[in-house]
Subunit: 195 residues, 2 copies
């Protein structure tokens, strides 16, 4: 089921009301405790209309956070390819999103918010654990997937913050290939290597 993105007359106020309600409830109660039904109630519409406009709860979350893409959709196919190139594929995808300003901005906004506000941290943690890690568990035939995913999150979060927010040099100015040569082996080991 793909969310409908075209605008129709009269629909945009309703869509905005749904997105506002989603942001409020995800922000206040986290990802897990928020249902499509409660979001619909907050927007004064029928739950079917929320599904109609935005698809699943996961898709609505991505839309409400104004993320440029669904990280879970990105990660699924990456995990399916050949195992030796896993760390490099994952890192190149992240760099492609982050090295482009329009897609970087909303991702960094979410990280900034999670670092600042406990409720945003809960929301981000539950989305990572419940959606992204769940996808990895379903795809990667390896032990300790949750532990591995949390290790990956340390390296990926830290890279985003050091390179794009604090701008530590020479990392901030390094070419993607240099970053991949240095950091892909770390992700490869966290994902499928000896720990």
């Amino acid at each position: 089921m793909s969310p409908r993105t075209g605008r129709r007359p009269g629909s945009s106020g309703t869509q905005d009301a749904i997105l506002d309600s989603a942001r409020n409830l995800f922000g206040a109660n986290g990802y897990n405790a928020t249902s499509i039904r409660r979001i619909a109630q907050g927007a004064g519409v029928d739950p079917a209309l929320v599904h109609h406009y935005f698809g699943t709860k996961e898709q609505l979350f991505v839309a409400a956070m104004e993320l440029p893409l669904n990280p879970a959709d990105m990660i699924g196919p990456l995990l399916l390819g050949d195992r030796d190139g896993l760390g490099e594929r994952l890192l190149r995808s992240f760099l492609a999103v982050w090295d482009s300003e329009p897609t970087r901005a909303p991702m960094l906004a979410m990280i900034r918010s999670a670092v600042q506000h406990e409720q945003a941290a809960t929301m981000m943690r539950e989305f990572i654990e419940g959606v992204i890690v769940a996808r990895a568990v379903a795809t990667l035939a390896v032990d300790n997937v949750e532990w591995r995913a949390s290790l990956v999150s340390t390296q990926v979060l830290g890279l985003a913050i050091a390179r794009y927010i604090i701008k530590v040099e020479p990392l901030a100015s390094a070419e993607p290939d240099e970053v991949v040569a240095a950091i892909a082996p770390t992700l490869q080991r966290y994902l499928v290597g000896e720990l």
Copy 2:
């Protein structure tokens, strides 16, 4: 030269004025562009008095940021020991600081502030580059020390944020020994290994 920490009659107002001036100027102009002379001027005192109370600019920065310790003082001795245990020693020291609430709080406050405010990011970046990395360059006989240090910063920052701020599980509840087994090899490679 060790900073004087004892209180004397009449000195505490002056010390507070110096710390306030230091926080304002470091925050507004970064670490590099801020001199003891300007801080003294801002506090309406003689620069000699700033040195008398707080020692060097580096020591004043640590006092003004209310850091529990000077990271550069911690890192120097760690880098001097046997090379094989470098990553593990560094990581155990970080975990000792972070796993204890009183020392964790001011470190996390500085990270939070750097993620949120560009000026605080500049201040933190300049302190890392100018003080911590400078110490590593002077101590570690290895190529590309600046590049290695920036890689270390990604893993260390990301670990702090994932474990203590976003609290990604099972990482947030993991024992220090488990964290060391997983992440020390990454730091070891970044510090002295093949990149």
